[in-house]
């Protein structure tokens, strides 16, 4: 009886402790959701103060969006993969191979709508190869499969193109990467146009936000990242979902190839070299967790923006690109350390 009373007292004390840290605990989800946007806003303000005339000018802002346009596609694809606690190292190579196929098909004189669809299809197939390899060949970790295809896809891209650039596409093919939406009807000047690639980013990110948050498949992607055996026990076909995720990641890399074709008017062997690392970095900065199951589409977008603004701002200030590397690296480490701290606070042990 005495021990029961003691237990009751102890419960009461624990309840008190809970009340005290509840405000703190309540803030964490908001910080988790919007903290990264806060960082983005701070960065924009700092850059604006440092470069008041240039940074927020129409020309520079559209420039940033044009620069991040294809990276944002790779990052979104890699993000979905990271949510499943996987990794895709091959997105840069998928983009390069898709770009090379696009260039060859364009040079062969195919009509523009074929040329536009080809890289999307090629990217999707590359992703499918990754997904099938990871599930059917039972690779111990997606790292290995996609490391393999990182070499395979780039090598294939060089083989089919002979390792030389192929240039010159029609305007229709270049539209998504290079097109401009005229805003003079709003009373703006001719130079104040809207890049088509910016609209594309918005549309693609919105569609994938809906997909990940409001569809069953999207929910299952998060569930697999949270606990794959729970997903399996719930009757979810985990392998099928993984194949879908890697295929979509490839598809998004294909969109990246189409944008890049528009921007550079050329298929070239070094396209997307090391861009898989940029994509992973953007996801991590944006709050996606390597342990899987965590992260938001908005966060990834913020991550891409932060990297884009950092590069752009440092370029404007004439800072050496070596410093950019150091800074981006530091931000990654800092972002993940914040993730570690958040796990300490947010999860019961």
């Amino acid at each position: 009886m005495k021990s029961l009373v003691g237990l009751w007292e102890k419960n009461k004390m624990e309840d008190k402790e809970k009340k005290q840290d509840s405000l703190y605990v309540k803030l964490i989800p908001y910080f988790e959701k919007y903290g990264i946007l806060l960082l983005l806003v701070i960065m924009i303000l700092v850059m604006h103060i440092l470069q008041p005339d240039v940074f927020l000018s129409w020309r520079n802002v559209t420039n940033v969006f044009k620069q991040i346009s294809w990276q944002s596609m790779l990052a979104l694809g890699v993000f979905m993969v990271i949510v499943t606690a996987g990794i895709d190292l091959s997105v840069g190579s998928i983009m390069m191979l898709s770009l090379m196929i696009l260039a060859i098909v364009a040079k062969a004189g195919a009509p523009w709508f074929i040329v536009v669809l080809v890289p999307l299809f090629a990217g999707f197939l590359c992703g499918l190869v990754n997904g099938l390899g990871i599930t059917l060949l039972r690779m111990p970790h997606p790292f290995i499969m996609t490391l393999g295809t990182l070499y395979i896809f780039r090598g294939t891209g060089n083989l089919i193109s002979g390792g030389t650039p192929i240039s010159g596409f029609t305007d229709e093919v270049r539209y998504l990467g290079h097109g401009r939406i005229d805003l003079t009807w709003l009373g703006l000047e001719k130079s104040q146009y809207l890049p088509v690639s910016l609209v594309l980013i918005a549309v693609v990110y919105f569609v994938f936000w809906v997909f990940l948050n409001h569809s069953r498949t999207g929910k299952w992607i998060y569930a697999i990242g949270g606990n794959p055996s729970a997903a399996r026990a719930s009757g979810i076909n985990v392998n099928k979902i993984l194949i879908i995720v890697y295929s979509l990641c490839g598809f998004l890399s294909g969109i990246g190839a189409l944008i890049l074709a528009g921007r550079t008017d050329s298929g070239y062997p070094n396209a997307g070299l090391q861009s898989e690392l940029d994509a992973i970095a953007a996801c991590i900065i944006g709050g996606a967790s390597f342990f899987g199951g965590r992260g938001t589409v908005l966060g990834v977008f913020a991550g891409v923006m932060i990297m884009g603004i950092l590069r752009n701002g440092l370029n404007l200030m004439d800072v050496s690109s070596f410093w950019q590397q150091v800074l981006i690296g530091s931000i990654i480490v800092l972002a993940v350390y914040v993730d570690v701290l958040r796990r300490d606070f947010g999860t019961r042990k």
Binding site: L7, N11, V210, H214, S215, R216, K219, W220, Y222, A223, G225, G226, N227, S229, A230, A231, A233, S234, G235, I236, G292, G293, R294, G346, T347, R348
Partner: protein
């Protein structure tokens, strides 16, 4: 007390070989409506194998399963779920990053159609979750709380709620209190009693005599893959059951 209730699940002569190893030999098991059967046995006695046969994960080498008097061949856990037989796994099988409601309905989420697209119906998930938790008297702050923020006992309660969200008739629980703090064990055992009172047949595998003697109506012991002993709970004692586990009658 329960032998007069309707027979829900019966396993007859279940035998399971793994290569040359005999994991189960001619094992029989019965569960009635609103009854809790405790299954005890030492490590390697065949408890887990038997449960995996019942849930459709393993196919028995010989023997048959009857559900509400009809023979069924189970090809996968989906088949047993469709019959109303649910398993609560020892490792809880919950996704910590998802809220309670989404865990309970994981894989079977209600959706609503907008045009030709199907979207998750979050409102329905929350309403159904709250109603279900209310029915089982499970206290959590809200159905939107993430599972990783819950205590071990609350998680176990969610796992049990999950198994019963789709009109389960038989629930099999593998060591339901093994990972819990002492003060939470009672809550989970209460929940098992609650399930029984709604007419669900419960099978509890446990090493803890306290659990067995708190919630079970009948206890059976497996020893080296065979039925060793079985008794109504009020006709046996802890010492006797412990003896059975070690192979002594």
């Amino acid at each position: 007390m329960t032998s007069t209730n309707k027979l829900l699940l019966e396993a007859k002569g279940i035998t399971k070989y793994f290569g040359t190893i005999t994991a189960l030999e001619n094992v029989n098991l019965k569960v009635h409506e609103g009854e809790c059967l405790g299954v005890v046995g030492d490590n390697g006695a065949g408890k887990s194998t038997l449960m995996k046969v019942l849930s459709g994960l393993y196919k028995p080498s010989a023997g048959a399963l009857f559900f509400e008097g009809k023979e069924h061949v189970l090809d996968s856990p989906k088949d047993s779920q469709n019959l109303g037989l649910e398993m609560v796994y020892q490792d809880l099988a919950l996704a910590g990053n998802l809220p309670i409601g989404e865990n309970i309905f994981l894989g079977r989420e209600p959706t609503k159609n907008i045009g030709f697209l199907k979207f998750l119906d979050f409102k329905k998930i929350q309403e159904m979750t709250s109603a279900h938790l209310e029915k089982l008297k499970i206290n959590v702050k809200s159905a939107d709380q993430k599972v990783e923020e819950l205590s071990g006992g609350q998680r176990q309660a969610v796992a049990i709620a999950r198994s019963t969200a789709f009109n389960a008739k038989v629930v099999i629980m593998d060591e339901p209190t093994a990972a819990l703090a002492i003060k939470e064990v009672g809550k989970v055992l209460d929940l098992i009693n609650k399930l029984k009172s709604t007419g669900v047949g419960v099978i509890v595998i446990s090493h803890r005599m306290d659990d067995i003697f708190t919630v079970c109506d009948r206890v059976m012991a497996l020893f080296q893959g065979t039925n060793f002993a079985e008794s109504q709970l009020d006709k046996t004692s802890r010492d006797e059951v412990i003896g059975w586990i070690m192979g002594k009658k």
